[in-house]
Subunit: 334 residues, 2 copies
């Protein structure tokens, strides 16, 4: 069996502000012969995520920056094509961190076998993948959300936010959700059945929160930072909790800090930043709880699929713009 | 025994920005006859504290605003003069929340007996009072500070900050302290023996923290908010903790929020606001631990005493200016 030639997408240059197609390039690479313990995987889907924007800057962060001239990476699911590891037979579905390419060779120990009979393989990039785990950890470990509480979720139509909304509803909470387009608001209302939803680009955010949460917010799941964080701070109840999960508003350009952070003293607020990478040990209990919900149709597996590896840069740029182009998890089908 | 006529200091008008003497007025009031269970107390010392500035605004907060035309209040210590409660004999030392006046009548149940043989009575307004408890709760309950860690303390020469510095040193931590004058810096270095101290008004705060904490900060005890909070955020280690205790920088005029709050995500920071009023149940264990430290001279009881009830407004204004005029706890001797 000969090795296929792989195609990968590289960072051609570091974006200044909003990325453009010129920041990406496509390259063909020869794959190495398999060594013992290695497998050759053909990706079926890979993920484009907001956090990747930060990695395109040359700045110190919790993950190393992408290198210019090298392939991008990120979550992917695919099937084993060739194997020199007895536990990974050909056709086995695996999740990896080797996205943005069609084929790759890797040590089997870097891969995680997924059960594609329980849910569509692409779901393991979304509701059953890192975004779903992020939502679950954020609600349970960080916010310690309890039934009957009121929670505000920004970026609520995205991969993480859409799972947060649904899990909070299942828990018996009142959910206020925001997103950036009319179509997303309709999705939040009609498909995720949140209690209240508004378009943060058009609404008076303070007023929306005041009307939707007259008694204040017990919790805020922050995917955006910026003006929504400031408005949420102003609406928090005493002893409220804020999960700092994402700051998509400031990924392309910096935004001012919340001028009312001082409210955190008198209201005894807790703001907690977190990263899902610290909670990978919770993947198994998370999947055990979540797969049945997906199978029962209680947890909508919403995704926007972009066809073709070569369109991944457009998908990524579009996701950061938070336009109408996608709902839920955005994945690229290779 | 006839009732003395009491003198009290009232809020004459709400300050706009920095308070002035015109915002205060002195008034004579007749005291009521004692009812059963009540005592008449002569105040010896009372406290002027930064949080009182917030109460001078007509805005909703964790404590009701001061009313215009009514007496101010706050922590005080004094001695019982007359009593209709068997547990409070004349001469008993008591702590109350009836400051800013010389005499008052109150139900004995609102008072707490203090042991003035163990420490000077005024210490129960500082290191053994709410400021000391604030420091202790902040270090133990909020920051969960551990031996060997590096902590930055802003407002470090103040009533709370000076206790934080000393307790952190006793715990075996590296302490970086900031204050607003050369005299305070000398006090921090020579009397509190912090590892590093700088004048935040003159220094490049980022550079000071970089040099004093090359490996970053495990914890930050924030008494100021503003630029020091922003600089501390930039220096926090992964999983760092920030206790939001005070925001004196913004008490008179609003300050911008920290533009780098987004760092809290990647570094998994926790920012926790707290109020000592939620921890009054910990006063007894706090005193049991702290009184011996004060008696042994391990915990310096630093205070600035202003003589005379009539000078309390000046003392308060001066404290907010954070000038050279005082170190540690500022108290007024009646």
């Amino acid at each position: 069996m000969t090795q296929p030639c792989a195609t990968e997408i590289r960072l051609a240059s570091r974006p200044q502000g909003e990325p453009t197609l010129n920041n990406f390039e496509t390259a063909a690479v020869d794959l190495p012969e398999l060594q013992p313990g290695e497998v050759l995987v053909r990706n079926t889907f890979f993920s484009v995520d907001p956090y990747m924007r930060g990695r395109m800057n040359d700045s110190k962060s919790y993950v190393a920056p992408f290198a210019v001239g090298k392939a991008l990476d990120g979550a992917a699911v695919g099937q084993v094509v060739q194997s020199r590891h007895p536990g990974f037979l050909p056709s086995t579905w695996v999740a990896s961190l080797c996205g943005w390419r069609d084929y790759f060779v890797a040590p089997a120990q870097n891969l995680r076998i997924i059960d594609a009979t329980q849910a569509p393989a692409s779901a393991y990039l979304g509701v059953l993948g890192a975004p779903g785990l992020t939502a679950w950890v954020g609600l349970h470990d960080i916010l310690k959300l309890r039934s009957g509480e009121t929670i505000f979720v920004s970026g609520a139509a995205g991969a993480v936010g859409s799972v947060v909304c649904q899990m909070a509803k299942i828990l018996g909470c009142r959910v206020i959700a925001s997103a950036g387009s009319a179509a997303k608001i309709a999705f939040l209302r009609n498909q995720l059945h949140v209690d209240s939803a508004f378009n943060y680009r058009e609404a008076n955010i303070e007023q929306e929160l005041r009307e939707a949460a007259p008694d204040g917010l017990h919790a805020y799941f922050d995917n955006t930072a910026g003006p929504q964080l400031e408005a949420a701070l102003g609406r928090m109840r005493n002893h409220g909790r804020i999960a700092l999960c994402g700051a998509i508003t400031g990924y392309n350009t910096p935004v001012p800090g919340p001028r009312n952070l001082g409210l955190a003293i008198g209201r005894r607020l807790r703001l907690q930043g977190f990263l899902v990478v610290d909670y990978l040990h919770r993947m198994q209990p998370f999947l055990e709880e979540t797969i049945p919900m997906v199978r029962a149709g209680k947890l909508l597996h919403q995704e926007t699929i972009i066809e073709g590896l070569q369109h991944a840069p457009e998908a990524f740029i579009s996701m950061l713009r938070s336009g109408d182009a996608h709902m839920g998890k955005m994945v690229v089908r290779v």
